[in-house]
Amino acid sequence: MSTLAIDKAGPRRKVKYGSISRNRTWALRWSYFFLVLFAIFSLTPPFYMLITSLKSSGEIAAATNPWWVFHPTLSNYIELLSSNQYLRFFLNSAMVSVVVVIITMLISVPAAFALARMKFWGSAVLATGVFLTYLIPDSLLFIPLFKMFAAIGDLTGIQLINRWYVLLFLYPTLTVPFCTWIMIGYFASIPKELDEAAIIDGASWFQTLTRIFIPVALPGLIAATIFAFTVSWAQFLYPLVFTTSTDQLVLPVGIITTLVKGDVFSWGQIMTGALLGAAPPLIIYAFLMDYYIAGLTAGATKG
């Protein structure tokens, strides 16, 4: 029985024993240190929005510490919430977002089902193509779209510029590709045995879709819905281009164009408007955070 020719000789740095518990405490300390730093960085602007919204214009102009509100007042809120104009913005945003979400789901879900489950000629190409179009940004398309809609307006008399319902056509281009991508991922992860069991039990493909797939892929549906809503709500470029009269504006554009009168920025109101405008996505996020995050990561990790 020969012993192996590997010997224990070899350069050894002087063995300084570490300590598991010490390593761990320091790792935690550094982690929390940086996390607090990052949290401060992340939350400063929203915090400042809140603080400012509670300040009267007098306090804003005064030279006191801007990071705190000394005489909080709800006057900004009251003014905005009783302003018809602001409420109009909110309503426009809400209508557009809700309708766009519905349109998006109606287009994405069947398309995703077909692409994920029914292998037909060109399905792979189409699936990748869908993802790629998401990479054509709105900042490239807004000019030709503007011209297209202006031209249609001239030709047919249907006024498409400066109408909020135009956005109903445009927003889906931003939401549908990614939502389809998300749903393809979720549908594809449903085991094929489930389909087969359904077929044996006598279901048609439509029943399979509505009774099996949609309930099982519900988390994906919720995530996609949230994504579509938040993207629609936050859109800035398209409404800026396509809507100009005050009663047609949605929230992001409305706040900026109307609360800045000439060179005078009424910051208290602007911040209040911005905060209220950010509220719906924030509220959805607070209650449905896991779905929100699942929507984001689904594209990449399930892809």
Binding site: L28, L35, F38, A39, S42, L43, P45, P46, Y48, M49, A61, P66, W67, I107, P110, A111, A114, L115, M118, L126, T128, G129, T133, P137, D138, S139, L140, L141, F142, I143, P144, F146, K147, M148, P172, D195, I199, A203, W205, T230, A234, F236, L237, L240, V241, I255, F265, W267, M271, A274, G277, A278, P281, A286, Y292, I293, L296, T297, A300, G303
Partner: protein, 311 residues
């Protein structure tokens, strides 16, 4: 497979084998096609056609009556502002993405390090910038950077440092624009990387620990290689999105001061919509296209590579 439902009908009607076979196949393809039709129409009409149309528009004169070929492009190449916009767009996109990826990775690492119970809370807090609509948060930053009332300048004043012209001076304006973009985009990277971190098998770290790796060696030899794919995809994705960004610059600086923070999107808006010169605006925004195309090719290659080496 759901398409078994179609073969089912084939079995039932066995009248003429050949025609019912064709019928069955036709039915599945037609159904699938119909289901994807709205998607195809939407993209064709509102994405593909405008993209091609903009190429046509770029070849027209200002009043869109005459064909001028590459005249618009010649005009642009001669203008200094144009080259400034190109430079700014590139610097803006590349530095913003680098910082977003770095901060996102570091943040993901630290969130991953703390006990699982607390992770949700911290993750929730750190994702807030991404959740707030960019237009709204850009306004908040605008207020924070205000020349007269900037809260940052106030704090700096407490330490004796001079007020900084956050948006007034070109250098600082560029910095501010990149800062806001990083603030807004880093959480996305953090979330992606966090998900990827959790998918690295714990045993690899244990093996590395036993083999003698300390914390940065574990990151370099285990974490980064395992996350190579997701890092590549998110970076490319973000490059495209950042490059085409409009909201932040528009609200913060509207391209100023003196056009020194203009990027393709905002300048195209200025020239095309505000300046009423649609063809010129189209030409400007078309310059984004080659860069987007290259990035898209890399992404495609990565996706198919990932599909192939699904070990």
């Amino acid at each position: 497979m759901a398409d078994v439902a179609f073969q089912h009908s084939r079995v039932i009607t066995r009248t003429s084998q050949r025609s019912s076979l064709r019928n069955a196949l036709k039915r599945k393809s037609t159904a699938a096609f119909l289901m994807t039709l709205p998607l195809i129409v939407l993209i064709a009409v509102f994405v593909l056609y405008p993209a091609l149309y903009s190429m046509h528009l770029a070849t027209l004169n200002k009043s869109m009556t005459k064909f001028v070929g590459l005249g618009n492009f010649e005009f642009l190449f001669k203008r200094d502002t144009f080259w400034m916009v190109v430079k700014q767009s590139c610097i803006f996109a590349i530095s913003a993405v680098i910082f977003k990826a770095l901060i996102g990775f570091i943040a993901a690492h630290f969130v991953h390090n703390i006990p699982a119970k607390g992770q949700r809370k911290w993750r929730g807090m750190l994702l807030v910038p991404w959740v707030i609509p960019t237009a709204m948060s850009a306004l908040a930053w605008l207020w924070l950077f205000d020349p007269s009332y900037s809260a940052f300048n106030y704090t700096l004043g407490l330490f004796g440092a001079g007020p900084i012209p956050w948006l007034g001076q070109a250098g600082w304006a560029r910095f501010s624009v990149i800062l806001v973009n990083v603030w807004f985009g880093a959480p996305f990277f953090m979330i992606m990387y966090l998900a990827a971190l959790k998918s690295v098998p714990e045993q690899l770290y244990e093996a590395a620990a036993i083999d003698g790796a300390n914390w940065w060696q574990r990151i370099w030899y285990v974490t980064l290689p395992m996350m190579r794919n997701i890092i590549a995809i998110t970076t490319l994705f973000s490059l495209i999105v950042t490059f085409a960004n409009f909201d932040i610059v528009r609200i913060l600086t509207a391209g100023g001061p003196l056009d020194q923070t203009h990027i393709f999107a905002t300048w195209a808006f200025r020239v095309g919509i505000e300046g009423n010169d649609i063809p010129l605006g189209a030409s400007v925004s078309l310059f984004m296209f080659p860069i987007l195309a290259i990035a898209a090719i890399f992404i495609l290659r990565d996706i198919s590579k990932r599909g192939n080496e699904a070990s």
